[in-house]
Symmetry: C2
Subunit: 258 residues, 2 copies
């Protein structure tokens, strides 16, 4: 399950040196056809990310970016039905490549969070919850980002566990489910890893990458995605935020969502 | 152009309190239909993000997450043709809602980076470059993430400017174009803002949000997406990385790309 990083050189590892230089040197021999979702040659971990109407865009895509760089990994976006699945703003859609009834096993299941409407609908969708429970029975890791923890909790997977979620949903997670809320970027409880809000999925995915492929590979992935965060402000932690800032943040969120 | 944050309450700003609580309280009256890309009521900034075959998933989606929370903002994914556009790994596709010939004006144009194949193809795609130049003539802000800077440079927009790009593409940007490479997370030169690799788009987008809507709004967006980064490692800065780590990062990237 921990793919070797010294496996034999393949066609794709011939690209060396700086990305741009390698690109220009090899562009002539690069495959000209359009890539598609079938990657039968990838025998590394299969990472499945559940999409549902109203998810928040960065929740699935941040971890997908990180985990897709694990050696020989496959990332599959999955939803109740195949096809485009819209975010909480309604503006953007990511394609679901597989329907839930086409996916029976995953090495990693990741459930993103969403806006109010999307999260609540997912928490009440018995077909989704049944599928989550089924996949979790055999998964190596089951993870969530943001209010995805509420969906895992609704599926019964967080009972008696320590977990985190979006800062504004912490009280709800604590009061409605038998969960010990821990205000960290990510929390591991057995094979279940929950992340805090939206962007916390990046930190969680690097941690998960280290569990799956070792620290050296996870560190290399961090460099590959140049994750040396330097936000212009330091207002991302709810514990340090005053009530006005919290109110403003939740208003912006609500106003952006359909 | 700087939307007021005290604009009159609309249907969407009625959601208050914690996300989950508001969600459960209002789920019964939430629109049940599927959201779609038409948001004619949003009269704030129109942000267009260019997709091309082989972009890296986080490059467009990180900034989209942040900028979509600007008051009344619209985010439109745009490509040469409408429809799903695949990432560098071939596993994931985001829908382009509009074709370039359907978009004549944007407040913000953002060009993401991609893998070798995708970046080179975009740099050579004259239709894309023409469209980028056309949009830039009237845009309020033109931005790039990662090797998207090479695409802006190929379009002639970075001539004589200070800019940043993906760490492994810095030498190429410097040597092939009349650009002063600056190793920062994001660099502003007039109305053009370039970001470093992949995840740097998040930092850049918060900075851009502050330019467009003020610091108070940008800080609230940072809290809205809980961007209080705490990666488990500190290996994301190429200036601190040893040659082995760089080689490993580039190998992982190349191996993950189709």
């Amino acid at each position: 399950m921990t793919p070797s990083t010294t496996r034999p050189t393949t066609r794709r590892t011939l690209l060396r040196g700086t990305v741009a230089t390698a690109a220009l040197a090899t562009a002539g021999v690069a495959p000209s056809g359009r890539a598609h979702a079938e990657q039968p040659e990838r025998d590394g971990p299969h990472i499945g990310i559940l999409l549902y109407d109203g998810y928040s865009l960065l929740d699935p895509t941040g971890p997908a970016e990180v985990l897709s760089r694990l050696p020989d990994a496959r990332v599959t976006m999955i939803a109740e039905r195949r096809g485009p699945v819209r975010t909480d703003t309604g503006d953007v859609a990511v394609m679901a490549e597989r329907a839930i009834d086409e996916v029976d096993r995953l090495d990693v299941l990741l459930v993103p969070g969403g806006g109010n409407r999307g999260t609540v609908a997912a928490m009440r969708n018995q077909a989704l919850l049944r599928w989550i429970r089924h996949i979790d029975r055999h998964s190596r890791w089951t993870a969530s980002v943001c209010t995805g923890a509420l969906v895992l909790a609704a599926a019964g997977l967080l009972k008696g566990r320590r977990a985190t979620t979006y800062w504004a949903s912490a009280d709800y997670l604590r009061s409605e489910f038998e969960v010990t809320y821990v205000p960290e970027r990510y929390v591991r409880s057995g094979k279940i890893i929950t992340a805090a809000g939206v962007s916390a999925g990046l930190d969680m995915a690097l941690y998960l990458a280290s569990l799956m492929a070792g620290e050296a590979t996870a560190k290399a992935i961090q460099l590959a995605v140049e994750y040396d965060p330097r936000p212009p402000f330091h207002s991302g932690n709810a514990a340090d935020a005053d009530p006005q800032l919290k109110e403003r943040a939740l208003r912006l969120l609500a106003a952006s969502q359909v």
